[in-house]
């Protein structure tokens, strides 16, 4: 990034400019590059997986064949063929490990034998997932939010409806339906399967925060992204994760009730009729499936525990018999988790970022004005942007939901500090005329002191806090979002008054529930959960690109310090990370070998058992 890009807007002189058409072309080319990387990542995840899956499939097939053979013997050619295939695979193994030479034809056939069943199974599962979820599209969970239509009598909502129509006209696409969500966060997302049935979910707070031009920019971005086919891309990407999750669920199903209930959900979903509940159920199932791609599932532990609680001999035998499958299961899960976190998720995140840049350029094309979107992004960076239920759909939103909320909690704006200080002073019956940083420092420590005293049970402190709450409510022009407990009640409750405790109980429950739901939301953040690469491009880069397209904004300062710190940290971390990655890869290789070995032994044992039975 040249030093030009970080200077103030009041600078004269030539600047790097880029038309939005060029920006769009550049981003479309970049999309192809990113797709290629995603493909490589999926492949790198798939190959070890198929190496493990194929023996498992062979094992299952052979068991079936053995059972069939026991009742009506299979022709001898069949067993000869099986032996030939096994020998081919063995030759490939020899070539890799013992460097025994091998002719190309056997090499190809041997690798096909090793890889083909796994590949076929993966493709079949992926196609299943695609067809199952195609109707539902992406983002269906957001439909759960009791979203409503904009009313024609409210000015802001009328503006919203108008702006959507205007942007749809500029883009030449049918206007998507709008659903409004009431809530504290300001954000907007596009959901659905494509242009013809896309819906835009937008929170009411966004309308209050942005003016008409900024709203135009945001909606132009969403409509441009829908028009570019981002919903389909999101769907395909999610389907890849879901396919891997399905593989893992199937592997887990003999062991755990969680996996079995997931399969039950899938079957139930496959037979649903109505479109809306389809979409919602799709989201739930998708979450279950893709959430399974990880080590979080505790089915195996469940299995072991139940095994230990019933130490009968049957369980011990079953444990022993199923050991290879257990090891395979663990190896598969380790592979999926590792490659998903290090290869697939970052590749997909970078692909999605490129699409976001493309949608930004598309927004400039639609509005012919980059200022609106730029100032909207700026404003949203300061806002709380979390919308309830944003879990799996978080990448569909225009700005990352929830991040700025956590950042903002540590630093209230100066105006907010003034209001707090005034409310605090008035709660003590004083009026203050001096508000500034010195006062804020004082009153923060003072509030801390009073809160401490209140926690000890000081009635005066409790009353003071209550008065503070009232003053804040009056200053905010209405009621606070939560209800403050009556100080008399609190005092009485501390002394053991049961009626007061009863009155306080719902308040406590609600506060606790609020905290719980926030924790729940943070856990549920779907695709972005374990990833260290955000799906949303950083604000600064978006603003720089918009500025190149003609936005008249002043860019946020890039502090040179943070850059050097990042470089130093990454220089130190790089060898450490490489070491960790190498260790995990070796662990994966070891587990793969182990499971292959165990599977082979298992197959041999089963073959032996069946041939013994056949001889009787």
């Amino acid at each position: 990034m040249s030093s030009q890009a970080v200077a103030n807007v009041g600078r004269f002189g030539p600047r790097d400019r880029e038309t939005f058409f060029d920006a769009q072309r550049r981003n479309r080319r970049a999309t192809w590059r990113m797709t290629f990387f995603c493909f490589i990542a999926a492949l790198s995840m798939g190959i070890p997986l198929t190496l493990l899956l194929s023996p498992l499939i062979y094992a299952v097939l052979l068991i079936g064949a053995e059972i069939y053979n026991y009742y009506s013997p299979l022709p001898r050619e069949f067993w000869l063929q099986v032996e030939n295939l096994a020998r081919l695979a063995q030759r490939v193994g020899n070539f890799i490990f013992n460097h025994k030479p091998i002719d190309p034809q056997s090499a190809i056939l041997g690798s096909l034998v090793l890889l083909l069943p796994g590949i076929l199974l993966s493709i079949v599962l992926w196609l299943t997932v695609l067809t199952l979820f195609r109707r539902g599209g992406v983002g269906g969970a957001l439909l759960n939010l009791c979203a409503r239509q904009p009313t024609q009598t409210d000015l802001k909502e009328l503006q919203l409806a108008d702006v959507i129509q205007e942007m749809a006209i500029a883009a030449g696409v049918p206007a998507p339906q709008v659903r409004l969500v009431d809530g504290a966060g300001a954000n907007a997302a596009a959901i659905g399967t494509g242009i013809n049935d896309a819906q835009i979910v937008i929170s009411r707070r966004l309308l209050d925060v942005l003016n008409r031009e900024e709203l135009e920019g945001v909606l132009a971005h969403l409509i441009a992204s829908v028009g570019n086919g981002d919903l389909r891309i999101a769907f395909t990407v999610t389907s890849i994760f879901e396919a891997y999750g399905l593989i893992e669920t199937l592997i887990n199903s003999p062991f755990g009730p969680q996996a079995r209930s997931t399969i039950w959900h899938i079957l139930r979903y496959a037979f649903l009729r109505s479109k809306d509940s389809r979409a919602r159920e799709a989201e739930i199932v998708a979450g279950l499936l893709a959430g399974n791609v990880g080590l979080a599932s505790d089915d195996i532990d469940h299995f072991f525990q139940s095994g230990s609680s019933k130490p009968s001999i049957i369980w011990k035998i079953l444990n022993f018999v199923f050991l290879p499958i257990l090891i395979t299961n663990l190896a598969i899960r380790l592979i999926l988790w590792f490659f998903s976190t290090t290869a697939l998720e970052p590749a997909v995140a970078f692909l999605w970022r490129t699409r976001q840049y493309l949608a930004d350029a598309g927004a400039v094309q639609l509005t012919r004005d980059a200022d609106g979107l730029a100032s909207a992004l700026r404003k949203l960076d300061q806002q709380n942007t979390s919308v309830p239920g944003d879990g799996w759909a978080s990448h569909l939103f225009i700005v990352s939901p929830g991040r700025s909320d956590r950042m903002q909690e540590t630093a209230p704006t100066p105006e907010a500090m003034q209001r707090f200080a005034k409310a605090w002073a008035s709660s003590a019956g004083l009026t203050t005329t001096v508000v500034g940083s010195s006062v804020s420092g004082d009153f923060k420590t003072e509030i801390g002191r009073v809160r401490h005293a209140a926690l000890q049970g000081d009635a005066g402190a409790i009353a003071r806090l209550y008065a503070f709450g009232q003053a804040m409510a009056a200053a905010e022009g209405g009621t606070l979002p939560f209800k403050m407990p009556d100080p008399a009640d609190v005092v009485a409750a501390r002394n053991g008054d049961p009626a007061a405790i009863e009155r306080l109980r719902p308040l406590i429950a609600r506060a606790y529930a609020g905290q719980q739901s926030q924790l729940q939301e943070e856990k549920q953040n779907g695709l972005q959960a374990d990833g260290f690469v955000s799906f949303h491009p950083p604000l600064k880069r978006r603003l720089v690109r918009l500025e190149r397209m003609g936005a008249r904004i002043s860019l946020p300062d890039a502090s040179g310090n943070s850059r050097t710190i990042r470089i130093i940290v990454s220089v130190f971390l790089a060898p450490l990370i490489t070491l960790v990655v190498a260790v995990v890869l070796m662990l994966i290789a070891a587990m793969t070998m182990l499971s292959l070995l165990l599977l082979t032994l298992w197959l041999g044992a089963i073959h032996g058992i069946f041939s013994l039975l056949a001889h009787h």
Binding site: Q165, A170, A171, G172
Partner: protein, 193 residues
């Protein structure tokens, strides 16, 4: 043996050429239809404006007793624009005079804080602003489609097809310099109630 390979190669090449021609032709057809669609979209938005104007006049009538001339201007311009005109330049002229009358009307409205603050006036103003925006965006979209069509039409190898099958060039929408009426802004306070 070699002639049969040559024949097969020729057939394959011919089939590929046919397939390309079909795809390219359909692409040109699609773009030309988008251009036509874009043109009629502009008409749709203009008609929408015609429909909104009576509402506007009715809402403002109570407040603007002393400004009958402005209201009459708007009504008259609207009735002229609704009548289907003989050719496009005349229609463009009628629409432009309606735009001018509306702009003058809204400038007057600024002087009447009661009218300005009335809820339904705000909603109506928003609807009219949006209509003007929609007309502008429809024209912009039309121009974008014309650009795409002309580019495709002229780039090699499609220009051969276009010439052969008769795909004429499309013209962009430009603002006629005669349309740009100047809106008079009254800075005197003589019209205050």
């Amino acid at each position: 043996m070699e002639t049969s390979i040559a024949v097969i190669a020729f057939i394959v090449a011919f089939v590929i050429f046919l397939v390309w021609m079909i795809i390219a032709f359909n692409g040109l057809v699609r773009m030309r239809n988008r251009v036509r669609n874009g043109w009629s979209d502009i008409d749709v938005q203009l008609a929408r404006r015609h429909d909104l104007v009576p509402n506007l006049v009715e809402t403002a009538e109570g407040y603007l007793q002393h400004e009958r001339s402005v209201l009459d201007d708007v009504t008259q311009a609207r009735s002229q624009a609704v009548v289907p005109a003989a050719n496009i330049p005349q229609r463009a002229l009628a629409e432009a005079s309606l735009t001018g009358a509306l702009s003058r009307f809204f400038v007057r409205v600024e002087n009447y804080p009661n009218l300005r603050a009335a809820e339904n006036m705000k909603l109506l103003q928003e609807q009219l602003t949006s209509t003007e925006n929609r007309i502008a965006f429809a024209r912009q979209h039309y121009n974008d489609e014309v650009m795409n069509y002309n580019t495709a039409r002229l780039s090699f190898p499609r220009n051969l097809l276009a010439g052969f099958f008769g795909f004429p060039p499309a013209t962009m929408f430009t603002a006629d310099p005669n349309d740009r009426e100047r809106v008079e802004v009254q800075l005197s306070s003589s019209s205050r109630p």
